[in-house]
């Protein structure tokens, strides 16, 4: 590690309208050093990364790369200055093979390069091998799993031989084994003397890898130091942990089960040849809170989309003991099954209030006004954001808006698909409180799909475990840890 930092950021600030996303940020990374930039959603860490890459332009401050101030430069010039980025979501060219996608990253920014020479193809091969894509280089991206697409992003970033690599949420959506592989790749960057910036939600996921951690909250640095020191830092602990999440056992009468509301019987779904659901059966009773837990790709979203009438399936779905087959998605939603999808699907250009009003379109005006007041009590942050465009909200606020909009539709069954996706612990706690209130004070039944077991269990009356398209376990949440917990991950 040399003594002069390769990246040196001073006084960096960025405002979006009235919102200060990054405020007077200072950070530096030496060659061969890995810095973890962490912070909950809306803390400004992603904005800081975009400012360094030149995707956003700073309002003030200096970004020095090897002594050259690149603040305000366009992204392609900053990239050529030696900065590479691994995006969280991969967006490959789908009509090109994996190899051609890597070759793209190796091309010079020239209008006259009309043939790819052998040396370039050989280099693309070598990079593909290095990131573990050797066997699939001639396949098309849409035939490959998520982890391979992340590898492709990694390959494209290193193809340019950057001196600084920015990695956005390096391990999101990966299994434990894949996390190991990606850790080794990132560790390799350090060995090669590159400076690395890892952007993530929490210290834990990057602790083993980083030399130093910088924690952000509300656009400012709140702590910096070794991973252990930052984890012990009282300010960080308060921002992240807040109050502990407790388990709650429902006091209701369990001896007299309520009438069945939703019955899923032997539902099977295929995507082309791939089986996404295999004879899945489950049940939600009146007023019940049911959690379906499973890892990414287990089939949760497919199950919910089948129930909501968004895709074709074999088997039967019964709503109040009448089959739903043949009814449109809109009719099913008006009938009382409202899904709050994983991707949230907010109307980004409309304000918070307009999004909520749209959810209440089918309700009588008086009722919709009452619901709105109740929901703004449930999620007070939405009150202060009422006139703001939905797209400008932070991830946690957007999730709350998505849930509130679903509740505006007066559901009898609320389907929540991965509400915790990409959210920081402090937001999870707020969501958790809202779900608790929902369970205790309303008769709405909830079907919750989650990867995060600690979030899914406390409120649930019953739990199903979905694994590789099948239900592998069901029972009371209290029994989960003993009977299914070990095999879950």
């Amino acid at each position: 590690m040399s003594n002069t930092p390769w990246l040196d950021v001073q006084g960096l600030s960025k405002r979006f309208g009235g919102l200060v996303a990054v405020k007077e940020l200072a950070l530096s990374i030496h060659p061969g050093e890995i810095l973890g930039l962490i912070g909950p959603n809306g803390s400004g860490k992603s904005t800081a990364m975009k400012l360094i890459m030149g995707i956003e332009r700073p309002n003030a401050g200096a970004i020095r790369l090897g002594g050259v101030d690149v603040a305000g430069w366009p992204a392609h010039r900053i990239a050529r200055q030696g900065v590479g980025i691994v995006f969280q979501h991969s967006r490959p060219l789908h009509r090109q093979t994996m190899l051609e996608n890597i070759m793209l990253a190796l091309l010079p920014d020239s209008l006259w390069r009309l043939r790819a020479d052998r040396a370039l193809i050989a280099r693309a091969h070598a990079i593909g091998e290095r990131v573990g894509l050797g066997a699939v280089l001639h396949r098309y991206p849409n035939t490959l799993p998520f982890a391979d697409l992340r590898r492709l992003e990694m390959a494209k970033a290193i193809a340019r031989d950057p001196k600084l690599v920015l990695v956005d949420e390096p391990f999101a959506g990966l299994t434990a084994a894949e996390v190991g592989t990606f850790s080794r790749l990132i560790d390799g960057f350090r060995a090669e003397g590159r400076a690395v910036l890892l952007v993530d939600h929490n210290v834990k996921s990057v602790a083993a890898l980083v030399d130093r951690v910088l924690a952000m909250y509300l656009g400012e640095r709140i702590a910096e130091g070794s991973a252990e020191a930052v984890m012990r830092d009282p300010v960080v602990r308060r921002v992240y942990i807040g109050g502990a999440i407790e388990t709650q056992v429902r006091t209701a009468d369990a001896a007299h089960p309520a009438a069945p509301l939703l019955q899923v019987e032997d539902v099977t779904v295929f995507y082309a040849k791939a089986q996404a659901l295999q004879q899945v059966s489950l049940e939600v009773r009146e007023g019940e809170f049911v959690s379906v837990v499973g890892l990414n790709g287990a089939g949760k979203t497919t199950l919910f989309n089948a129930i909501s009438g968004l895709l074709a399936y074999e088997g039967r779905v019964l709503w109040r003991e009448r089959p739903l087959a043949g009814r449109s998605a809109a009719a099913i939603a008006r009938g009382g099954i409202v899904q709050c999808p994983e991707s949230r699907e907010l109307f980004g250009a409309l304000s918070v209030r307009e999004n909520l009003d749209l959810g209440g379109q089918h309700q009588p005006p008086g009722e919709s006004r009452d619901r709105l007041a109740w929901l703004l009590d449930l999620f007070p942050i939405l009150k202060t954001r009422a006139t703001q465009a939905a797209a400008t909200l932070s991830g946690g606020e957007q999730q709350m808006l998505a849930i509130a909009r679903a509740l505006m539709m007066n559901p009898q069954l609320l389907i929540l698909d991965e509400p915790t996706l990409g959210l920081a612990p402090v937001i999870l706690e707020q969501l958790s409180k809202a779900l608790h209130l929902l369970r205790e004070t309303t008769s709405i039944s909830v079907l919750l799909g989650e990867q995060n077991v600690t979030f899914a269990l406390p409120h649930a009356d019953r739990v199903y475990v979905l694994e590789h398209a099948r239900i592998v376990w069901q029972g009371a949440p209290a029994r989960f840890a003993v009977e299914a917990g070990a095999g879950y991950l």
Binding site: A75, L93, Q96, M103, L111, R113
Partner: protein, 305 residues
């Protein structure tokens, strides 16, 4: 790669058959096909922008019209045909750059709107300066390349074939790859060090070059340049429908779509006003049920099981 090879042989075979056509069919049919081939180039040039650079140019006739009228006007001023054609192509490229430079700064539908307005401006300019341009009646061109239907046919076919090979080759080259990346995800392309605006502007110039060349050649075939044949929005819409019908991002599909549209319109001419309606309805159905276009559908079917 083998797929590309077999397609290439198929296209070559089709070209040889088409080249032999003047030996077998009437001058009338050759005339229709000659027009169709120039439209084929219009559509291919448009597909480079839409299919690869990801920019919807609602005004292909702005570029075509500039090429056609520049060539026609210079010919009336006494310039020889080859110089007029070159000047027409150059005028289209210049006009294209002047239009694209500010327009490419805008995101989303605004680029398309600007190109649409440009066509209306050109149309108005032609009408206002009727003394020079012939206005709504059209401009009569003193020279024609040839009066022989066969020669005109071969020139058009040869021009379309060469344009097609160049545009297809470009789209498949490393530069085409960068262009596709810029069209699909400008942020990621920039993060890989590519100047997205530069590549899109270059694509616009190339599209303008071929549109202008084709427009200029067309006026020397028709002997006239008029708003109704090379500038009107309806002509532009036909170019766009042809490209979408044939298959976005295929180049070759755009030419096939254009030839089909022109032939269909001609074949249905006995229906009178109804013919346009029938052709439009067929195009609408094809776009609704084959959004990737006919060629796109065939390619796609071959790839995914």
């Amino acid at each position: 790669m083998r797929r590309t090879g077999s397609w290439l042989w198929l296209v070559l075979l089709a070209l040889v058959l088409l080249a032999a056509l003047p030996l077998a069919v009437s001058g009338y049919i050759l005339g229709v096909l000659t027009l169709a081939y120039y439209f084929g180039v219009f559509s291919m040039a448009w597909d480079l922008l839409f299919g690869f650079a990801g920019e919807v140019n609602f005004g292909p006739t702005f570029l075509i019209g500039l090429g056609a009228y520049a060539a026609g006007l210079l010919n009336t001023a006494g310039w020889p045909i080859p110089l007029c054609i070159l000047a027409g192509a150059l005028a289209a490229v210049l006009g294209g750059v002047l239009l694209a430079l500010p327009a490419l700064r805008l995101r989303g539908p605004y680029f398309g709107l600007i190109t649409l307005v440009a066509v209306l401006l050109l149309q108005q300019a032609i009408v206002i300066f009727a003394g020079v341009t012939g206005g709504e009646i059209g401009l009569t061109i003193p020279d024609v390349i040839s009066v022989d239907a066969g020669v005109n046919y071969w020139i058009a076919l040869g021009f379309m074939a060469i344009s097609g090979f160049l545009l297809f080759g470009l789209a498949r080259s490393p530069v085409g790859l960068i262009l596709q990346a810029s069209g699909q995800d400008a942020v990621e392309a920039a993060a890989l060090g590519f100047n997205v605006t530069k590549h899109k502007l270059a694509a616009f110039c190339i599209s303008a070059l071929f549109s202008g060349l084709a427009g200029a050649l067309l006026v020397f075939y028709l002997g006239t340049a008029s708003v109704g044949t090379v500038v009107d929005i309806a002509v532009g819409v036909q170019v766009i429908i042809a490209a979408v019908l044939g298959g976005r991002r295929t180049i070759v599909g755009a030419a096939i779509g254009a030839i089909f549209l022109i032939i269909a319109a001609e074949a249905l001419r006995p229906l009178g006003q109804l013919s346009t309606l029938v052709v439009s309805a067929v195009a609408l159905l094809a776009i609704l049920f084959l959004p990737d276009g006919v060629v796109g559908y065939l390619l796609h079917r071959g790839r995914t099981p």
